[in-house]
Amino acid sequence: MDTETMAAETRAKRPIRWHVGVFLAPAVLVYTAFMILPLFGTLQLSLFRNIEQSQVFVGFGNFRTLFGDPNWSVNFWNALRNNVWFFIIHMLVQNPIGILLAALLSSPRLRFTAFYRTAIFVPTILSFVIVGFAWKLILSPIWGVAPHLMDFVGLKSFFTPWLGKEQYALTALSLVSVWQFVGIPMMLIYAALLSIPDEVIEAAECDGVTGMAQFWKIKLPLILPSIGIISILTFVGNFNAFDLIYTAQGALAGPNYSTDILGTFLYRAFFGFQLQVGDPNMGAAIATIMFLIILAGVCVYLFLVQTRLRRYQF
């Protein structure tokens, strides 16, 4: 008790600890100046409009245009719908495959796991430009690699130039993106599976719970927090995506806007394309909507998936 009060007194008397500020300042300054302020600046810009060379406050006018003016709203809802589909494909294909691969990798005494891990993660480190173009070439009917491969399994008649058809292009690109990023859920789930204590597994084995039953009843519930994390990472990544579509289909997200997602829509609104001039305020309005969507997703995650983020360091 006595020593505590003494400690408190010395702390109170201690001069200002400048070094704390020195340690924090560079990071806080750069982060605030180039991340936080622009983010709020963008939110603010979405409430203004450029009328006769000056910024005029229009309240939610830009959003009314975005939702109500058919010139904008058709594209906006199309981009949003596509983005939701993009996300659904990731959740239904990428994450289950990732979990399956992680479950296989973590099986005890399996050999070559380091090789598999390294190899399956390779696409994730590649740039979107490489991935987009490489797949564009592979799926191209001119080169004929895809039909050639499908011929091996007798499916050649199913081949069509997927990226060029409105009804398939978005799904095809989503699957390319899944191909690229499957390594991330695989690694995170793998880490979670390794962290399950041996005693739990041994106890399950003593009770006769093995194999598939063990995975579904013991391991899956224990890795649910990690599945929550990969879901929110997928959500944020998908609603922020741009590069792959831009590389493979260009800013117009063809054919006929069928692969347009919010990122490419934002880019076109902000920079303009063909005859339409760029409009920073409308760009800001779209960025604001994306911000709200991502924020909503993160909130749902934080409130519903009661989990401790920090333990998994992601």
Partner: protein, 279 residues
Amino acid sequence: MSTATRSLPRTIGAHAILITYTVIALFPVILVVMNSFKSRAGIFGAPLTPPTPKTFDLIGYTTVFGQGDFFHYFQNSLVVTVLSLFFVLLFGAMAAFALSEYRFRGNTLMGLYLALGIMIPIRLGTVAILQLMVATGLVNTLAALILVYTAQGLPLAIFILSEFMKQVSDDLKNAGRIDGLSEYTIFFRLVLPLVRPAMATVAVFTMIPIWNDLWFPLILAPSEETKTVTLGAQLFLGQFVTNWNAILAALSLAILPVLILYVIFSRQLIRGITSGAVK
């Protein structure tokens, strides 16, 4: 011992699935690199076979080196990535040290504030970032990219590093204080060397998105002098849509440096990701 008898078919099954997926993951990469060393006839005649003496041709590479200023783009990417990485690691480690070492008013709040950027992508602030860069005259400079990427990398770096710095023994730091070392010396001489493995992990996580980014080079620095290799490759590929040799060579050139770095650092990267598990 019944597990031993049951596990053979299961092991074979596991290997079969893993090998299948490994092939799916590597096939496009191998296909591109393989065909980049072939003549046009070889690329279209037999895309799935490795280059033979008959189809071997370096025409694609000569076109790329003759046309695009790839060496220059490569240099830009290197400067941007290395400097951003340096600032992220230095500033991130300093802030992480302050947050994990000192108790001060607003510590938790500051931690949350800095963690905000992990979930909210910096890209959403692009409109205002561009205005800021125009106002400060930084458009079309590498400095613009470096500043943005530093801000982008900091949140995750601080988050991971402060977890690791909490594990550095207090006795060591207090021993240093008793010996009269300043707080700065304690940080640079005692703590930094101890968290070096964590720094390497953060470095890999920070480096890959910066090297691969297309969005900010496209918007903040699209001029010829400041193009990064990703943007350069993108434009080059757009120009040469019909020259398959050149495209495949350019793609291979873009793949190889990253692939080599990855093979060198993959152990570090994977250990970093799975470190939550290794207790």
